[in-house]
């Protein structure tokens, strides 16, 4: 998954590495150039000192050994010279039997020379005229200590860049988590929204998030209103049709129709169907499908009231009990859930001898609702039939005994499943399995 934190870190690391390495190498180059300039001055002064050591003796020019620096005497000391006169060459004793490739051009040699003992020599050549003689003096100095120390500096520089990288990454992580905090809060609020613990997102967010949050809030409001409007429209239509239907039904009782019993029966049947259809569609319209945030069924708040109502409707002495996980919130529309449970419990109360139980269980991928009674129950071979009757209402008359048609509709709308079974109390058990709204897609695939 893409993460803002990670892409920011990657960018920062790339920039830091590039900038750090470029800075390190550039400063090393600049430093080395400065050092070489200073060494060049030293070497030039060295050649001038050697020029002074070339003196006129009794047999032509000779090298005054007294004037030589002792380091030119120790073998492989790292300091060497070569003095060339026409017909004469003096090598420093320090060179011993080594013969580096001395440069001929005056000035600092562009390349380091290979010297004895793996030394790398920085060489400088100067051309002089003295006592009418052309004198070429080359001096060289071991450069390996400088190279070694540069390697060490480079290594510690790399270590420093690494440390800086680490520190910057930690700081950046902290800064980003601070900056992303409002986003995280919005994410939490959306999660609450899904669980129905919240109706709107809080508007107090940074400028960058403002449009997003406003748009979500606007959409929530809009969806809510649209749903309400369509429910109202269907409700209005249903009510508007009720009166004409009632008028038509009463018209059936007119004497004019008594002479035509067949016609009356046919009209009666058709009107009955229209009535069923209307009430069925009215019920369906109320099934919102995806539940709107905030409309969830809160067991602790709704169930006591529901059971109180049931107790007052049905004969006294019925033992009604319910059991649900603490703080249980069913993520479906409150009204629909009331309708579902109301119908099932109402049916159970009708048939129960003395006890009715409701149990709600939370499972990994959904909820299980169990409604038990201690009534006569339904024989196994007729259970399928009872369910089918509930599911296909339009083939049967209203009030077929179970009154569970709406239950079938609601369960189907929620992609759930329901079945009838032998209950532990001896009567019927209705088992309703409801997958969590978010898992519907998977549940459908599983089927």
């Amino acid at each position: 998954m893409r993460s803002i934190q990670r892409s920011l870190s990657l960018g920062l690391v790339a920039i830091l590495v590039i900038v750090g390495l470029v800075l390190l190498q550039t400063s090393l180059w600049l430093f080395e150039a400065g050092l070489k300039r200073s060494l060049e001055t030293d070497l030039r002064e060295e050649t001038e000192g050697l020029l002074l050591a070339v003196v006129r003796g009794s047999e032509g020019m000779k090298l005054d050994i007294q004037r030589l620096n002792p380091r030119y005497h120790r073998a492989f000391s790292g300091h060497y010279f070569l003095i060339q006169l026409p017909g004469q060459t003096w090598r420093s004793r320090s060179l011993w039997d080594a013969s580096p490739a001395w440069p001929e051009a005056p000035g600092l040699a562009p390349e380091l020379l290979a010297g004895p003992r793996d030394q790398r020599l920085l060489a400088y050549t100067a051309h002089y005229q003295r006592e009418g003689q052309a004198i070429v003096i080359s001096v060289a100095q071991d450069y390996t200590p400088v190279l070694d120390s540069f390697a060490r500096v480079r290594l510690s520089g790399l270590g420093l860049v690494g440390m800086a990288l680490l520190v910057f990454l930690l700081l950046q992580r902290y800064a980003v988590s601070l900056a992303l905090h409002p986003l995280e809060r919005a994410r939490r609020q959306i999660a609450q929204l899904q669980q129905g613990q919240r109706q709107q997102l809080e508007g107090d967010v940074p400028l960058e998030l403002q449009p997003l949050v406003e748009q979500i809030n606007h959409l929530l409001l809009h969806t809510d209103e649209t749903l309400k409007r369509s429910r109202n429209a269907l409700g209005n239509l249903g009510h508007a049709l009720k009166t004409p239907l009632a008028v038509l039904t009463s018209l059936l009782e007119r004497e004019e129709l008594a002479a035509h019993p067949q016609l009356r029966a046919a009209l009666e049947e058709q009107l009955g169907q229209i009535q069923q259809r209307v009430s069925r569609e009215l019920g369906r319209a109320r099934l919102a499908g995806e539940v709107l945030p905030g409309g969830h069924f809160d067991c602790d708040a709704e169930l006591p009231a529901l059971f109180d109502t049931l107790a007052t409707i049905h004969r006294p002495g019925l033992d009604l009990r319910w059991q649900a996980p603490p703080g249980c919130r069913l993520p479906w529309d409150r009204e629909d859930m009331l309708e579902l449970l109301g119908n099932l419990l109402d049916n159970a109360c009708k048939w129960a001898a003395g006890q009715v139980r409701l149990r709600i269980e939370r499972h990994a991928d959904g909820y299980l609702l169990l409604v038990d009674d201690d009534g006569p129950g339904i024989p196994a071979e007729r259970r399928e039939q009872a369910l089918a009757r509930g599911a296909r209402l339009d083939e049967h008359a209203q009030g077929h005994g179970l009154g569970l048609s709406i239950v079938g509709d609601i369960v189907a709308a929620w992609h759930g499943d329901w079945e009838l079974a032998q209950g532990p109390l001896g009567g019927l058990r209705v088992r309703v399995t409801l997958p969590l709204p978010g898992r519907q897609a998977r549940a459908t695939v599983d089927q």
Partner: protein, 102 residues
């Protein structure tokens, strides 16, 4: 100390070099010539074997002597412990003739 001593004795050595003697010091130009003629091994290679006997030691000074027609390198090393050692190597074969504390 040794270098200045060497400096003072250098002209004397050069003078002595002209007269035939049982043992004489050779200078860098002779050493280069002998190496080029293949009569002696390069000092660089000899030092590698000398330093192999005393790891971490540093070269203090090297001299080439001719003793009875034989070329001998006298090498002074400063070991890691700061002890000066004197080694003598046969310049032609590289054989260690002597290895003792100076």
């Amino acid at each position: 100390m040794r270098a200045t001593l060497l400096l003072c004795t250098m002209p004397l050595v050069l003078l002595l070099a002209a007269t035939p003697a049982a043992s004489r010091d050779l200078d860098q130009d002779e050493a280069l010539r002998l190496r080029r003629e293949g009569l002696i091994l390069p000092l660089d290679g000899l030092l590698d074997s000398a330093l192999a006997r005393h790891p971490g030691a540093r070269l203090l000074e090297a001299e080439l002597e001719e003793e009875h027609g034989r070329y001998v390198y006298e090498i002074e090393l400063l070991t890691r412990g700061g002890v000066a050692r004197e080694l003598e190597l046969d310049a032609r074969t590289g054989e260690v003739l002597k290895d003792e504390v100076d």
